[in-house]
């Protein structure tokens, strides 16, 4: 297997086929709680992405020195350290966003997607691949957060990028788009039940697309069979 196809496969796995949000359903608590606005979603998505890349790289770098009996506590230590660092940095440089993310920032420690990747992939693979896997899984998670955040923000308050200045500084307040305005908000979209419903539609949508592709696939199966055998290696 060439290195290039390995990276391609890692991207495919992280962004679509094995997406931590839509398929593995990991880290649902922050996923559903924070996605009331697009800004919050981007903030938490970036924080999770950063922690995931750093923890994957570190876990992979030390994989030969860690006795397997104590690997889980060590992974947790590493993840907790990175999360605390990210939390301190956000507190210092994106204060408003730090406040609106609240408890969900420290809760990244308990996001199973991170320890899951550390255990399942990073602890068995070289640093470069592990870092790339962290990046793709993190992007996959962040994208789901953003889609959910955007849908809920549009339905709930008819805006996009509301409060973007909290994340990006004062200039970003011009990003705010008022799509439509209504007197009383569509509460369901903002409250937790709305998050579950929207998440359900997202997963259904992904499955529908997969099913559609699978239905189209058999027609070209004949000349693709050899390639399929090669691609089927994920664990």
């Amino acid at each position: 297997m060439t290195e290039r196809s390995e990276y391609k496969e890692l991207s495919w796995q992280g962004l679509w086929k094995n997406n931590p949000g839509l398929v593995q359903l990991l880290g649902l608590c922050p996923l559903l709680a924070v996605t009331t606005t697009l800004t919050n979603a981007i903030g938490l998505g970036l924080a999770t992405l950063l922690v995931l890349v750093c923890s994957n790289a570190t876990v992979s770098a030390i994989r030969n020195w860690v006795p397997k009996e104590v690997r889980i506590p060590i992974f947790v230590l590493i993840i907790a350290a990175f999360v605390t660092c990210v939390q301190l940095l956000m507190n210092a440089y994106t204060f408003g966003l730090y406040q609106s993310l609240g408890i969900f920032l420290p809760l990244i420690v308990t996001n199973c997607a991170i320890i899951g990747r550390a255990e399942a992939y990073a602890s068995k693979n070289p640093v470069k691949q592990a870092t790339f896997d962290g990046l793709m899984m993190g992007l996959g998670f962040a994208l789901v957060l953003m889609v959910l955040g955007a849908v809920r923000e549009i339905l709930g308050q008819g805006t996009l990028f509301d409060g973007a200045d909290l994340l990006l500084g004062d200039w970003a307040s011009v990003l705010r788009i008022e799509i439509f305005s209504f007197d009383s908000k569509f509460l369901l979209a903002i409250l937790p039940p709305g998050a579950f419903i929207a998440m359900g539609f997202l997963i259904a949508g992904k499955n529908a697309i997969d099913a559609y592709i699978a239905k189209k696939q058999p027609k070209v199966e004949t000349d693709k069979t050899i390639e399929r055998v090669r691609v089927n290696f994920e664990g």
Binding site: W65, E69, V70, I78, N91, G156, K185, L187, L191
Partner: protein
Amino acid sequence: MKVAVQNNAKVLALFAIACTALVSVVNWLTKDTIIRQQQQQLLSTLYDVIPAERLNNDLYHDCQVIAGNDYLGGDDEQMAYIARMDNMPVAVAITSAAPDGYNGKIKLIVALNVDGSVSGVRVLKHQETPGLGDKIETRKNDWIYGFNGKTVEAENDLRWAVKKDGGMFDQFTGATITPRAVVKAVKNTALYFNKNKDSILSAQTSTCRDNND
């Protein structure tokens, strides 16, 4: 067996030390910025409720600790920031809390002019229902400006209630509990100020520990 345990313990300890070191370094690097951010946040709220041109003292450091009491929402310590113009007090911003919010305490800052009228009110922290109770925030609704210039005449001042209860403040459609709690808290804070005006204003030295850095 014993060797393995010792070895594992050593590795674990090493990682604990390394991680702690990393966190300490980041903490040391960001400490000052975080404190500055918090001060700035508080100061900008303070200048929101007491316009900067009305004072010329160091508002942030001219501060009194007030022991918790029923007027200010319970046992938590509260702060009073005293605005002075050429050493004459013009207004006081008191942090307070509404204990009976829909979803926990609503933390407020209430600025009162020395004549007892309200200079401004802001919500510092709340967990009210998004879309309903959160209209107490300035970025959602103008409601909180309704307190500006109002005065509490007496303990049984009937105008200090939401309109539904016969008072002069609007409630929100679908959410009466939140504005009711805020109105009551602002009223109580104003009453507290009227009763303790002299002791708050006469204090010369700041008693806030955190601010004396």
